[in-house]
C-alpha cells in the first residue's frame, strides 16, 4: 500500500532542502514512481540538471546523476545521450533554468528531437536566488524585482517546445500527482524529445507576494485552473481565460530521432 520511495533515494538525504509545501517534492515522488513503472536500471539511467531549486532533485536520487552549469542541463544531457545512446536520459530543471538561462539549449534539444525526457518544473519564479521574475512569471504578478507588477508577457513552455520540434509535449500540475507519473512514463517510453511541464507552487518567493495566503491556496489554485485537453475542446475562449490545459498536448511518432540519424552519419563516414 504505502509506496517505498526510500529505496530510490540516497541514504541520509531526507529531509530535503525545499521549503515547506514546495511542489518539487511531489514531482520527485512522481519521477520515482515513473522510473519504477518503466523498470529503469539505475546504472543505465542518467538524470541531468542545471542550477536552481528544481535542479537539486537529482542529488537525492540513487541513479547516475549529473549536476551541471546553470541552464546547461539539455546540453550535457545531449552529450551523455550521444556518447551512450543505450542510456535513458532524464533532464530536470526549473522554468528559469530551462527557458531563460538555458533557453537556447532547450530549444535546440527540442529541434534535434534527441531521445530524452525533460521534466520542467514551472514554479513561475526564480526561487533559489530570491524571487526575481522569470520568463514564466504571469503578467502583472509581483516578484522581488517587479514590485509594481511584471509588465512582460509570459513564455508558454509547452507551445515553445512544440514550436521548437519536440515530439512529445505534456503538461500537468503538482496538484495532480497521479498524472505526473503517468505522463513521465509516456515521456520515457516515447522515442524522441519529450517535454513534461509540471506547474508547481513556490509559496516562499511567489505565493506570499501574490495574495496566496498559504501553500494550500496555491495548490487549490493549480487544481481549480487546470483543464484537461479533452474538456477544453468543448469550452469557449472566454471560459479558457486564465486556465491551463493539461494532459498530452502534442505527440508525433514520425519524426526521426537524432541518435539514429547520427548513427547513419557514422556509417556513411566509415564508408559502409
Amino acid at each position: 500500500m504505502a509506496y517505498d520511495y526510500e529505496k530510490s533515494i540516497r541514504p541520509g538525504k531526507l529531509p530535503h532542502i525545499w521549503c515547506p509545501g514546495c511542489g518539487h517534492g511531489i514531482v520527485m515522488k512522481g519521477l520515482i514512481r515513473a522510473m519504477d513503472t518503466c523498470g529503469l536500471d539505475r546504472k543505465n539511467t542518467a538524470i541531468v540538471s542545471g542550477i536552481g531549486c528544481a535542479s537539486r532533485l537529482p542529488g537525492y536520487l540513487d541513479a547516475c546523476t549529473l549536476h551541471t552549469a546553470h541552464g546547461r542541463a539539455a546540453a550535457f544531457a545531449t552529450g551523455v545521450k550521444m556518447a551512450k545512446p543505450e542510456m535513458t536520459v532524464i533532464c530536470c530543471g526549473g522554468d528559469g533554468d530551462g527557458t531563460a538561462i538555458g533557453g537556447n539549449h532547450f530549444i535546440h534539444a527540442c529541434r534535434r528531437n534527441i531521445d530524452m525526457t525533460y521534466v520542467l518544473m514551472n514554479n513561475f519564479i526564480y526561487g533559489m536566488t530570491g524571487g526575481q521574475f522569470s520568463p514564466c512569471t504571469p503578467t502583472g504578478a509581483k516578484a522581488s524585482t517587479t514590485p509594481y507588477g511584471n509588465p512582460d508577457p509570459i513564455f508558454d513552455i509547452s507551445k515553445l517546445a512544440i514550436g521548437s520540434g519536440a515530439t512529445f509535449v505534456a503538461r500537468t500540475t503538482a496538484a495532480h500527482p497521479r498524472e505526473i507519473d503517468r505522463l513521465i512514463v509516456q515521456g520515457i517510453q516515447h522515442k524522441g524529445m519529450a517535454v513534461i511541464e509540471v506547474l508547481d507552487d513556490c509559496p516562499t518567493t511567489y505565493g506570499r507576494r501574490n495574495k496566496f495566503r498559504s501553500v494550500v491556496d496555491m495548490m487549490k489554485h493549480l487544481k481549480a485552473n487546470a483543464v484537461p485537453i479533452k474538456a477544453a475542446a468543448k469550452m469557449t475562449a472566454e471560459q479558457l481565460e486564465g486556465k491551463f490545459l493539461t494532459g498530452v498536448l502534442f505527440q508525433d511518432t514520425e519524426k526521426p530521432e537524432y541518435c539514429e540519424m547520427y548513427a547513419e552519419v557514422i556509417k556513411k563516414a566509415q564508408g559502409a
Binding site: 504505502a2 533515494i9 529531509p15 515547506p20
Partner: protein, 63 residues
C-alpha cells in the same frame, strides 16, 4: 473499520498542511508545525496525503 495505519515520519514533516487540507475524511490535524492523525479509523485509503506530501513524511499502510 478500514484498517489503515498512518505512519508519520516526524523528522521529515515541515508542517505545510497540504495533507490536512486535501484529506477528504478529515483524518489528519495540525499540531502547530507537525501533522498528527487523531482519526485513523476514518481513513478510506485514497492515498491523497501520501501522494501530495512533498516531504516524504506520511505513509498509508494496510493494517
Amino acid at each position: 473499520m478500514s484498517g489503515a495505519r498512518l505512519e508519520i515520519i516526524e523528522r521529515n514533516c515541515k508542517g505545510c498542511s497540504i495533507c490536512v487540507e486535501f484529506c477528504p475524511k478529515n483524518v489528519l490535524e495540525m499540531d502547530v508545525f507537525l501533522v498528527t492523525a487523531p482519526r485513523p479509523e476514518d481513513c478510506i485509503k485514497c492515498m491523497q496525503c501520501e501522494l501530495l506530501c512533498p516531504d516524504f513524511a506520511i505513509k498509508v499502510h494496510d493494517e
